[in-house]
């Protein structure tokens, strides 16, 4: 899974690189600079830069340095970092030596470099190899440091060509904000845009989720959680992939029947050798129970009593499930290609939206589907043909559903054959007999005319409605919701709640939960209390926390202590001497957790820092 993403990344960088190499050969103004304009998320950039770095190293120059803003708070450190990476570890400065010595090598560097490059390059290459410096997070750099570094490099650019690559997350205008004109005029700037992260997400979706190769699937809820985290919070494809990996682990861990979630042959084999326990588990699957209910009474009994029979049925069902998946994705793509060009995108702009609504409910019962079909019904001929051709392409590439493809091509052929016939239609033939009419008569004839016209569709319209019906039948046949398929629990991971809890953590809520319901974490029976009461058996911190919820913005410490003592006195066996100390400790823990802080507004009071939660 991981590898796939890397490939996507590489593909992008090759594109960038080809232009980059072109430019490296062009006239160098002073310092050549590329801006790689990237999205905002940071985790993905590391990977992009690593592969960019490797690519440059392999194909352009061995002198590639990448620096991070955190390491370079001053020019001295930045230069040291660059030199360290350039000279290799062997030449790097001793840590005991002064920092300045590294800087002294700066001047030597210009002497050392041409020699090195000469030894490395063949005589075929007339120009010396450039030094590439990658600034991974341009925005985070101190602008003074950058300015100085660029000025210094510009002095040596005659002997040693420099190429800077700035990774910019916001917009290229950041460069004008960070660098004054005197510095930016030293640069010859080229801007590259990386693909937007939503496009990356789409390709990850295509390769990993909308693919029948992998038996592991996500349910609609889970997809919504993952996509939600992506769109609302971080825009990070890497985190999305991690979420996917996590849900896979979670699925195989929590669902024992996930042993059947593998390639078809293996799954059939393991279905044959199901243990008694697992057969019982299958019987308890909601989807299997639903399946049993649809069978004949005779069969029902068989299914509920005979293990061997269950195993056989199970194999059949697994086969069906695999077949369903094989047919599902091409048809989904076809439907998407048909509807994605419609105005206002009734079924969603992205295929993932369509996928989510398909696997969760009967698509054809939704309003959006109806409106999409309505729009399809008024498509012009050339549009319809083009859309159908696209569908045919998709089906051709998959090599299944040949009969559907056949029918589609048949439709396309018939649509194209319509050329001339359509010209002479739509005109109501027959001569009208003119006669005096009253108003009622007129209305009647007009209505008649109207109804006659609607009845008489031209051949194209007839054919078009046939096509739409055909598509509708396809949708009803193949895009049945996956969550209604028997045995779908084997492949589909659907505990979205767990996923949300793990991936989109809420630290404050969990602290509050721990403090107000200590039983939840400690699992001690004696801690189980009704809501609203404060048990003296709970840890001191929990008691203090619950008491502070009843206070306003300022809390009187003495009142608080009194309340605490009252709660404690409920349990007689405690020794009373240590309670003051325990109270003080609990209060300081509360301060440490950030619920209260000391205040100067009133003596003997502390200020509450959280609100609500009572």
């Amino acid at each position: 899974m991981h590898v796939d993403y890397c490939e996507i990344c590489d593909g992008k960088n090759i594109g960038t690189y080809s232009t980059a190499s072109l430019l490296a050969l062009s006239i160098i103004d002073l310092c050549e600079t590329f801006y790689c304009h990237l999205g905002v998320n940071v985790p993905d950039h590391a990977m992009t830069f690593r592969s960019l770095c490797n690519l440059l190293q392999d194909s352009v120059t061995p002198f590639v340095v990448s620096v991070h803003a955190k390491e370079c708070a001053a020019v001295k450190l930045l230069i040291q970092k660059v030199l360290e990476q350039l000279m290799g570890r062997g030449v790097s400065v001793d840590e005991e030596q002064e920092d300045d010595t590294a800087l002294l090598q700066r001047t030597q560097c210009t002497i050392i470099f041409p020699q090195r490059t000469e030894s490395l390059t063949n005589s075929d290459l007339p120009q010396s190899l450039p030094v590439v410096v990658i600034f991974k997070d341009f925005e985070a750099f101190n602008s003074q440091v950058l300015q100085d570094f660029i000025l210094i490099c510009s002095r040596y650019t005659q002997e040693l060509p420099f190429i800077f690559i700035f990774g910019i997350a916001t917009s290229p205008s950041a460069i004008q904000h960070r660098l004054p004109h005197s510095v930016s005029s030293l640069l010859c700037i080229e801007v590259f845009h990386s693909l937007s992260c939503t496009q990356h997400l789409a390709s990850v979706f295509d390769k990993l989720i909308l693919n029948s190769q992998f038996p592991f699937k996500l349910s609609s809820r889970v997809i919504q959680v993952l996509v939600g985290i992506f769109l609302y919070h971080d825009f990070s494809v890497q985190n999305f992939v991690k979420g996917l990996q996590f849900s896979m682990l979670e699925h195989f861990k929590s669902q024992p029947l996930s042993m059947l979630c593998c390639q078809k042959q293996e799954a059939l084999l393991s279905a044959k050798t199901l243990s008694k326990k697992n057969v019982e588990r299958i019987r308890h699957l909601p989807s299997f129970m639903r399946y049993v209910e649809t069978q004949e009474p005779q069969e029902q009994v068989q299914l509920l009593t005979n293990d061997e029979h269950v195993k056989e049925v199970c194999q059949q069902l697994l086969k069906n499930l695999h077949k369903y998946h094989k047919n599902y994705y091409p048809i989904l793509q076809c439907l998407h290609s048909l509807t994605s060009s419609l105005p206002k995108f009734p079924l969603g702009k992205h295929i993932r939206e369509l996928h989510v609504s398909c696997i969760e409910k009967n698509l054809w019962e939704t309003e959006e589907y109806d409106s999409a079909l309505q729009l399809l019904r008024i498509l012009a001929k050339d549009e319809l043909v083009a859309a159908l051709r696209k569908c045919a392409e998709i089906l051709k590439s998959t090599k299944i559903l040949q009969n559907v493809l056949q029918q589609l091509e048949d439709f396309i052929g018939r649509l194209e054959a319509l050329e001339e016939d359509s010209s002479g239609n739509g005109i109501i033939s027959g001569k009208m007999e003119y006669q005096r009419t009253d108003l009622f008569q007129l209305q009647k004839t007009l209505l008649e005319k109207e109804s006659r016209r609607t009845k008489r569709m031209n051949p194209f319209e007839v054919l078009r409605s046939q096509v739409i019906e055909f598509i509708d039948s396809l949708v009803r046949e193949y895009l049945t919701p996956a969550e209604l398929q028997p045995l779908n629990e084997v492949c589909y991971y659907n505990s979205s709640g767990v996923l949300r809890q793990r991936l989109n953590v809420t630290p404050r809520t969990s602290i509050q939960a721990a403090l107000s319901h200590p039983f939840y974490y400690l699992q001690n029976e004696s801690l189980k209390t009704d809501a609203g009461t404060i048990s003296s058996a709970a840890p001191d911190l929990c008691i203090v926390y619950k008491l502070h919820l009843e206070c306003g913005r300022l809390i009187n410490l003495y009142d608080w202590l009194e309340a605490f003592l009252t709660v404690m006195s409920a349990a007689e066996d405690q020794d009373t001497n240590s309670e003051d100390a325990r109270f003080i400790q609990a209060v300081s823990e509360m301060e440490f957790l950030g619920f209260i802080k000391s205040t100067k507004q009133k003596t003997d009071h502390v200020a509450r820092l959280t609100w609500g939660g009572c």
Binding site: V40, V42, E139, A169, S171, S173, S185, I189, H233, N504
Partner: protein, 450 residues
């Protein structure tokens, strides 16, 4: 061209020097006069100032190189410590071995001692020059360094002259304690005629110099009012020349047909005006832009930023927190805020535009409170919401006030403009149609403060 005479230097070198430094003959002559004959003692320190790209370093270094004078040229940007300066000076005059004798972290007296020792071994037969480029950086170094360098001649008792080059005037350098006053020498800006003369130098080999000169005249006619920087003008000249020559190559016009050429190039130059100084794109991309889009492309600053959904709201909330007085939050962000009397509502000092006063810092709590009321749907206070704030800080869309390490109630400022926020809010409104009305109400409400 007035022939520059200066005894002690070969005359033909001087002549070629004068040819290579057009429009700087007077400065060249004065400098040479100041320097005197090679073996004579020169003035201890000279301070040369003038705007960027007026040829200060170029003139001085050309003199040094062409006349083969002993000199050490140091760029003060490189000298993060004074030790590096000493190192470079010594190694230029006496070879790297002498520089290696410097102790670690050398002090000024170390330098003077070593210099004296070396110069007693090899006394100066010609004046030695130390050229300090971007001398304004010296002010950030050791406070005694500049006064000492100014009278270095006295200190080391050697025929040495320090030349300081800077873009700012001497008054900004003068230390409190007073010091030896260097000889001040100003390099004036080039006039328009001089710019034409200099720019015409790099004419294209395949066209006549007259054509190039007329091109430069056209170019300066457009750009001279906004830009007098020689470097920028040269960049522009190179950038647009191919466009200028296009009709010639197609055979539509002749070289004498200046008016037609002017008609052709004028709209392109007007377009180039919009991005003068910006250098957003390289020459290659610039040409491609012309090629593909006939309409003028204004490189918009905000066109490309894409942020996660909640980050946009956080940014909007931060903007509102920064530019609205905290007093009025109740009125804007509470559903039932009650009536507030109009007369009392605006205090006098708040009527002046908040934008003139700049963003104000706000605590994290206020940001989150406004955020929750702006988003309107329920948002759990997840860790990723808070990490989005810190990533906005990294992107410099927000800036943290005070120290980075302050964990307890950090304060922020919003550092983006109204245009940016409007662009973002428009984008969010497209995403949530339901939200549009409310949001515009917000912005309308904030109008008095904008």
């Amino acid at each position: 061209m007035a022939l520059i005479k200066c005894p002690g230097y070969p005359e033909d070198t001087l002549r070629s020097l004068a040819e290579r430094l057009p429009c700087r003959e007077t400065q060249l002559a004065t400098l040479l006069a100041l320097m005197g004959q090679p073996d004579q003692y020169s003035y201890p320190s000279v301070f040369i100032y003038g705007h960027r790209a007026t040829g200060k370093s170029h003139v001085v270094l050309s003199i040094m190189k062409d006349l083969e004078l002993p000199h050490a040229s140091v760029d003060c940007v490189e000298c993060v410590s004074s030790g590096l300066l000493f190192h470079q000076v010594l190694s230029a005059f006496f070879g790297p071995d002498a520089a290696a004798l410097l102790p670690r972290c050398p002090s000024l007296s170390d330098f003077v001692r070593l210099y004296k020792q070396m110069s007693s071994n090899s006394p100066a037969t010609q004046t030695r020059y130390i050229i300090l480029d971007r001398a304004e950086r010296m002010r950030d170094m050791d406070f005694s360094l500049l006064p000492a360098l100014l009278r270095l001649q006295e200190l080391v008792n050697d025929n040495v002259t320090v030349i300081l080059l800077s873009e700012i005037v001497w008054e900004k350098f003068r230390p409190n304690t007073g010091c030896f006053e260097p000889l001040l020498f100003h390099f004036p800006d080039y006039s328009k005629a001089e710019l034409v003369q200099i720019l015409s130098w790099d004419h294209h080999p395949s066209y006549t110099p007259e054509l190039y000169a007329s091109y430069i005249n056209i170019l300066l006619g457009v750009f001279f009012s906004v830009c007098r920087d020689l470097r920028e003008l040269r960049h522009l000249a190179v950038l647009n020349f191919s466009k200028f020559c296009e009709p010639l190559e197609k055979g539509e016009a002749k070289e004498s047909d200046i008016h037609k050429l002017w008609k052709n190039i004028e709209p392109h130059l007007q377009r180039a005006m919009q991005t003068v100084y910006l250098r957003e794109v390289s020459s290659v991309q610039w040409e491609q832009q012309f090629f593909f889009s006939p309409l003028p492309v204004v490189l918009s600053a905000h066109a490309h930023i894409e942020l996660p959904y909640y980050s946009k709201f956080l940014l909007i909330a931060a903007y509102l927190a920064s530019f609205n007085p905290a007093r009025t939050d109740r009125r804007f962000f509470l559903k039932s805020h009650g009536k507030i009397r109009k007369t009392n509502f605006l205090k006098k000092h708040e009527k002046t535009s908040n934008h003139l006063l700049g963003p104000k810092p706000f605590p994290l709590d206020r940001l989150m409170a406004i955020f929750y009321s702006v988003v309107d749907s329920r948002v759990a206070p997840t860790a990723s919401i808070f990490s989005q704030i810190s990533s906005l800080v990294t992107l410099q869309l927000l800036s943290q006030v005070g120290h980075d390490d302050q964990l307890d109630s950090p304060k922020y400022k919003c550092s983006v403009s109204l245009d940016f926020i409007l662009a973002i809010s428009r984008c969010v409104c497209v995403c949530v149609r339901l939200y549009r009305y409310q949001y515009y109400k917000f912005l309308n409400d904030t109008q008095p403060y904008i």
